[in-house]
């Protein structure tokens, strides 16, 4: 029954569920590239459990949310309305954006904060087919030396890093896995060939 489908999938226990999810999200953001497990929330397809859990934890009626085409379905909208109340917004007004990497573009449309309030910027929740510690090399705060993450477009993060302290932050989600990539991380594209050596 579609109504039940839309109304279910929240945290069993909102207080502990959201606290645990917040901790995992914070760990992911504090240690860029580290792949954490994130579950507790379940939404309509194609929403991953990790993205659903992030949305339940971070969004409410005061956080405008942009939906990329892949995730802009009636079911997801209804699920968000019941569980978060987050208003659906244009890219320009969004504090959070949800979708596949290609659906979230153009990145230039999002808020990157102001010099006084760099926090007034978007957080992208990027749905991925899978997450693995391969590909682009990450350096910076929260990373001991280097780590890797299979980023879809490393150049975009280099451009974002150049805006620091302004910029956007990202969560990458796949299934019940999440990795964080804050604006402070230095990203170097690594050719696939070099990796295989």
């Amino acid at each position: 029954m579609s109504q039940t489908h839309i109304l279910s999938g929240g945290f069993d226990s909102p207080a502990t569920g959201s606290a645990q999810a917040f901790r995992a999200a914070m760990e992911a953001m504090a240690r860029p590239g580290t792949i954490e497990t994130l579950s507790g929330g379940t939404g309509p397809a194609p929403l991953s459990d990790a993205a659903a859990t992030l949305l339940l934890t971070l969004c409410d009626t005061t956080t405008p949310l942009f939906l990329g085409a892949s995730h802009d379905t009636d079911d997801i909208r209804a699920w968000l309305a019941f569980h978060t109340g987050a208003p659906i917004a244009r890219r320009e007004d969004a504090q959070f954006a949800l979708g596949t990497w290609s659906d979230l573009a153009p990145l230039g449309a999002y808020a990157t904060g102001t010099p006084e309030y760099p926090d007034r910027s978007v957080t992208l929740i990027v749905e991925m087919p899978e997450l693995s510690n391969t590909g682009a090399v990450l350096r910076g705060p929260g990373i001991e030396e280097t780590t890797r993450l299979n980023l879809p477009d490393p150049q975009a993060h280099q451009a974002n890093r150049a805006l620091f302290p302004l910029g956007f932050d990202c969560f990458f989600t796949a299934g019940n896995r999440v990795a964080g990539l804050p604006r402070s991380t230095d990203v170097t594209a690594q050719p696939v060939a070099a990796e295989e050596v």
Binding site: L7, P14, D60, T61, T62, A78, A81, F82, G85, Y117
Partner: protein
């Protein structure tokens, strides 16, 4: 500079135990119940809800009991608690024009539709202590219910249109129109100046009553040209309606008591506006008449820029001064922190002073030499 100090756990525990004991008071006297506080200290409840910025009489009663009657401490407890609550959304603006009024008076019009209703007011009392209240069990006031039984109006109460609407119909008062903008929320984003009127009103409605009273009084005494009449003062209940996303329509989620004050103020007119009356507005949780009137006066004083009036340099016209000092929790937090350990800061100050004194002792000779 903040420096952590350690130690004193046992002393702190003992202080808290004693605090609990002092709060309870003599055990041969019955402990206060929350119902008693809520029912019989209702104006203290109103103040804690208004300045705590959370409408919940049961919580306010608990806070007052826990704070031993220190209302600012109680407000602090409520403010701390409210930060733990998830926000379900915002209501539609309440329709105070449809208020079920306990009290409704106008100082500008003697005869008005709906009439003047005094309600449960301290006005016209003689401010003489009523020693009958000191005698346990005595019922001091006569029972209003008997009079009411005689009156027994089955008809719906007469509508009470806004007093300012009479003036508005004649074009004698500035119109108050809704620009349809979503208001800012100073509990979510830091207050930036200049603040919109919406942010000023939010700040004033949760402001310290004493501070606001003093500011309002200063405008009456001449610190801002602001001669105000109470166009209307009403106290009563209004339903609170909110859109429920999962339902797709709005429902009433509760009912709250509010005090509303609209002042009518003189205005000479400017290059762009004809001479007309202007408005000040107060709206506060609970039965909080003094606060609502104060709010309306201070609101009016802060509107000098948008009305193209002169800055007279009065404190009540100074947005930064009023808005940054009106919150008693911010104020008491900063004020009271100076009693906490500052040993390292003070030690460095002391050393600096010693050095300056040494320098001073040596300096006069140089000074004389220079002359």
């Amino acid at each position: 500079m903040y420096v952590a100090v350690k130690g004193g756990e046992a002393a702190i525990d003992a202080a808290h135990d004693w605090l609990a004991e002092e709060r309870r008071g003599p055990t041969d006297i019955a402990e206060l119940t929350l119902g008693q506080i809520k029912g019989q200290m209702s104006l203290a409840i109103a103040r804690v809800m208004a300045e705590g910025s959370l409408y919940d009489p049961d919580l306010a009663a608990l806070a007052i009991k826990q704070a031993r009657g220190d209302l600012i401490e109680a407000i602090f407890l409520i403010r701390a608690y409210r930060t733990t609550l998830p926000r379900f959304g915002a209501s539609h603006p309440v329709e105070t024009g449809d208020m079920a009024c306990d009290r409704r008076i106008s100082a500008t019009f003697k005869d008005l539709p709906g009439g003047q209703v005094l309600g449960p007011t301290f006005d016209y009392t003689h401010r003489l202590l009523d020693f009958k209240l000191a005698a346990d069990g005595a019922l001091a006031a006569r029972d209003v219910a008997e009079d009411v039984a005689e009156a027994a109006p089955d008809t719906a109460p007469e509508p009470m249109p806004r007093v300012t609407e009479f003036l508005n119909a004649e074009g004698l008062i500035e119109p108050e129109v809704d620009p349809g903008e979503a208001p800012g929320d100073l509990t979510r984003a830091p207050l930036e100046l200049p603040a919109s009127r919406a942010l000023r009103l939010q700040s004033l409605t949760r402001a310290d009553e004493g501070f606001l009273l003093g500011m309002a009084y200063s405008t009456q005494r001449g610190y801002a040209r602001n001669h105000a009449f109470v166009g209307e003062l009403r106290i009563g209940t209004v339903p609170v309606e909110m859109d429920i996303p999962e339902l797709g329509f709005a429902i009433e989620i509760g009912e709250i008591t509010l005090t509303e004050c609209e002042t009518v103020n003189q205005f000479r007119g400017s290059e762009t506006a004809p001479p007309q009356f202007t408005r000040g507005y107060g709206l506060v949780f609970g039965q909080t008449e003094r606060k609502a009137i104060s709010m309306a006066l201070v609101d009016r004083a802060l509107r000098w820029k948008e009305l193209d009036e002169d800055d007279l340099g009065a404190p009540a016209q100074d947005e930064e001064f009023v808005l940054y000092h009106a919150d008693n929790i911010q104020a008491t937090g900063f004020l009271e922190h100076i009693k906490l350990p500052h040993y390292v800061d003070f030690q460095s100050e002391t050393e600096l002073l010693r050095r300056l004194r040494q320098a001073f002792a040596a300096a006069p000779i140089q000074a004389e030499a220079a002359e």
